[in-house]
């Protein structure tokens, strides 16, 4: 009897199952299955008897809402980041005034629907302005896009406050002590030591918030901001082809989301690299 030789690699399945289980073909396998799902979706939509020509004709008009959507989202995320930073500093503050204000802000915003907040700012604020008289009546009557940025910014700021707070509190206490022992002020400690480290914890979930905001920005159409959803709805109602225009808008939202997801993945990959470089504990 000859001695049994040990193979160099474990036995592999061949044929379909070999392909199904192969680790190298993972991306291809994923792509194929994804393409099948998309094909099924496409066939399903064909069955609805949609007017594709109509969709293509109005695509540019609806796509003109993309800059508005982006403007609202970028403006809102900037405002939200500022509010979240202030909110988080308030939430961790031992000063009862700051702490209470921040807690109140988070509680009331998270406790009421976004759509109510939007209408409050768009319809409620002008009324407050009327009651206060000039010059408030002018100041508190905001154009649609500004109202949208304000409403989404305030709303997302409350949710992001908790993200920022958790990020700041994830930094070991020793960092704070080392900074203070050097004679730093609270502001110097936050700016130079705590926030740069907390950013690594804060950025990934903030990306998620931004992607959620892309879709929530459709709500500002209620204020007449001429973004994608507003345009899709307008044409759909006018021509009695809502299914077509809404599908166009939905597809555009989906594509934008995928673009930002890939940007987010790249940012996270970079953060991950510097993380490996810097992690101490």
């Amino acid at each position: 009897m000859t001695t049994s030789t040990t193979p160099l690699a474990p036995p592999q399945a061949t044929g379909f199952w070999g392909w199904w289980h192969s680790t190298t073909g993972r991306r291809v396998r994923f792509g194929v299955i994804y393409a099948i799902i998309l094909a099924i979706l496409f066939l399903f939509l064909r069955q609805l008897g949609l007017d594709v020509q109509f969709q293509l004709k109005w695509l540019p008009y609806i796509a003109k809402g993309i800059p508005v959507t982006l403007l609202v989202c970028i403006g809102s995320i900037l405002l939200a980041t500022l509010l979240a930073l202030l909110g988080a500093l308030g939430r961790i503050s031992r000063n009862p005034i700051f702490n209470s204000i921040a807690t109140f802000y988070v509680s009331i915003i998270r406790g009421t629907p976004l759509i109510v907040q939007i209408f409050f700012i768009y319809l409620g604020l002008p009324q407050v302005g009327q009651n206060l008289g000039p010059p408030w009546d002018k100041w508190l009557t905001l154009p649609a896009i500004a109202s949208g940025i304000l409403a989404l910014g305030i709303n997302y700021g409350a949710y992001m406050t908790e993200i920022f707070r958790a990020g700041i509190q994830s930094i070991p206490h020793g960092q704070r002590e080392a900074a203070l022992a050097l004679g730093m002020t609270y502001g110097q400690m936050m700016r130079r030591i705590i926030l740069p480290q907390a950013l690594k914890v804060i950025i990934p979930p903030t990306g998620n918030e931004f992607i959620a905001m892309l879709k929530d920005s459709a709500l500002v159409s209620f204020m007449g901001a001429q973004e994608m959803f507003w345009r899709a709805q307008k044409i759909g109602r006018q021509k009695f082809r809502s299914m077509e225009t809404l599908l166009v808008a939905a597809a555009l939202y989906w594509i934008m989301t995928m673009i930002f997801e890939s940007i987010q993945r790249r940012i996270e990959a970079r953060l991950g690299q510097s993380e490996r470089q810097m992690v101490t504990h």
Binding site: G174, Q175, L182, M184, Q197, M278
Partner: protein, 251 residues
């Protein structure tokens, strides 16, 4: 006798209802090296952290590096500024190093000079390099802390404290978090520092260091200084029963 570098009178500290420091008195002269030993939970670290007000003392007076600050429940802005100023004259080294992980070794060392003292960066870099060389880590100047061993991290932390050119250095169990083979390099730096005449207060479990470098050893237990003596006397003829028992356990 010259003016003491550190003088503490009747210092008390409570954590809730737990009385951790029960009336500490201490005078440390310039160039003196004082080691504080004692079982864990005896209040050694808390005492050290009170000296630069990382822990707020509840009662008593602290005089350190030319600043005189009594214990108070609340410090106004002026007093808070005084405390920050005091900290720039009092270097502190922590058990867990606490280097800033997002900065290189050199950036860690110059951070205080640039941010707190407002020194121009190139000037700070010169000082930073001098102190990195002093702790023998000039070749690690651009490494991040995660790429350094524990002993190297602690030496960078010592350089970071020294760069501020403090009048007195506080060491809070600087070798307790180190692997045994890395303790020596840190103690060597500390011994050199002691030889150069730095005023040092060292909370430690390293009896070897206390024997070599200390001018005075204090045994602390349950929030009070039980006994203090020069190292030879403390280790050869401890007076108190508690000191004898502690030394029996660790030697």
């Amino acid at each position: 006798m010259s003016k003491p570098m550190v003088a503490v009178q009747n210092l008390h500290k409570w954590f809730g209802t737990l009385h951790v420091l029960k009336g500490i008195n201490l005078e440390v002269q310039p160039r003196e090296v004082v080691c504080i030993i004692g079982p864990s939970g005896s209040g050694k670290s808390t005492f050290l952290r009170c000296l630069n007000f990382l822990e707020k003392p509840d009662m008593g007076e602290i005089y350190i590096a030319g600043y005189h600050i009594p214990a108070k429940p609340h410090y106004n802005r002026k007093e808070q500024r005084m405390i920050r100023e005091l900290r720039t004259h009092v270097g502190m080294v922590f058990q867990s190093f606490n280097l800033f992980p997002h900065m290189t070794a050199l950036e860690n060392v110059i951070e205080g000079l640039v941010t707190v003292k407002g020194m121009p960066r190139d000037e700070a870099v010169k000082i930073g390099e001098y102190f990195l060389a002093k702790v023998g880590l000039m070749d690690k100047r651009d490494e991040y802390p995660s790429r350094l061993s524990g002993g190297q991290q602690q030496r960078v932390a010592i350089a970071r404290a020294l760069a501020m050119q403090p009048d007195v250095m506080l060491f809070d169990e600087p070798t307790s978090a180190l692997d045994p083979e890395l303790v020596g390099e840190v103690l060597k730096v500390m011994e050199e520092l002691a030889d150069e005449g730095m005023t040092m207060l060292v909370v430690t479990h390293e009896m070897g260091f206390a024997k070599h470098a200390a001018d005075r050893v204090i045994f602390m237990d349950e929030g009070i200084f039980v006994e203090e003596a020069p190292p030879e006397e403390m280790f050869a003829h401890p007076k108190h029963e508690r000191t004898r028992e502690f030394l029996r356990h660790i030697l």
